[in-house]
Symmetry: C2
Subunit: 205 residues, 2 copies
């Protein structure tokens, strides 16, 4: 496939398609169509066909998509045909919930370690992990070659932690702290703040 | 202000502006500009001015925005100048973390009750809440006049729970279960699935 710039909004829909396809596989389904996918997802069939066509030819007119083949292709495109080890920073309620979360399995991601700066938490157990001292981020993360991290610290420490992670080789950060991070342009950041989603809905109430 | 249709993408940026303004207020700041806001958020100043102009005149050319005034106006627009009581369904790791989350304060939202279907959890304590039996959703939610809910159940039960909530008067659902929900058109749904965010970033790694 030739390298071309795909709009990030299109990239952002691929994980949603992949999730739906993986659910169909769990339902022992074999073939689907852009119409069916669209109905499940509330996205038009034309949009789905257009998005997928940016990456290649995945189905035949009239016969639909092989679910397994299409899921495998999207996994390759998103680079989740491998498993990415992740570091979680912050062993509070959110960080602990994320570290124990079962939903990463089979989706190309795995929590590998969790850190906190609270001496009473360091050394304690969170699911299968022993909480590491935040002071050891640089060594642990670099040594493990970790590229993906989740920040679940209070807002005040999130920027500092982000800089530490970036200088340790992290290139993708999912930030649960309700604050915008300043990172170099080649580092990706995504945000999860339930209030942002909720306020987007209260507008309509 | 006359009623006009504002694109949802614009509505979606208002909570991000509000969060930045509230942080400036915590820093005892009084005045800001679209330039400064833009730099903090990685959004162009022109975009911010254009978004805000859809709702009215909030600043004067050359003198910038009064942070407190602009924050108050955005709160009114998003209807978070009041406090919305929320129901949380599912008292697992994520639901419990959300129920105990301190980040809702001053942002127009408040957890009011939490439900689970597991007899060993019903009656137990999660932060300040006693977990209620999921069978009592309809009565409790309707009686309290709750319009906003968060679903943090396993995927298999999320759709059923959503239908129960909608028939109890809920009009906005934040869904943590990794599955798309089918709800009537007048009900808003937003999704939080960390994998979706993470896979959007692994594409670039």
């Amino acid at each position: 496939m030739p390298e071309k710039i795909i709009p990030d909004i299109v990239v952002g829909r691929l994980p949603i398609y992949l999730r739906a396809l993986q659910r169909m596989l769990e339902e022992n389904r074999r073939v689907t169509s852009s119409q069916e996918l669209g109905e499940r997802l509330g996205i038009s069939a034309a949009q789905i066909r257009k998005d997928l066509s940016q990456f290649g030819e995945f189905g035949k007119q009239g016969t639909g998509y092989s679910i397994e083949f299409l899921a495998d292709q999207i996994k390759k495109i998103l680079h989740v045909d491998q498993v990415w080890d992740m570091a979680v920073i912050g062993a509070g309620d959110i960080g602990s919930a994320v570290a124990r979360y079962q939903g990463f399995a089979n989706r190309g991601l795995r929590v590998a370690m969790i850190f906190d700066n609270d001496p009473s938490k360091v050394g304690s157990q969170v699911g299968p992990f022993t909480v590491k001292d935040i002071k050891t981020i640089k060594d642990s993360v670099r040594e493990a070659g970790i590229k993906v991290a989740m920040i679940a610290t209070p807002s005040q420490t999130a920027q500092e932690v982000a800089e530490e992670l970036v200088s340790s080789g992290v290139r993708a950060i999912l930030n649960y702290a309700p604050i915008n991070l300043n990172v170099p342009e080649d580092v990706k950041v995504q945000y999860i703040d339930p209030v942002i989603h909720l306020q987007r809905m209260t507008y309509y109430l």
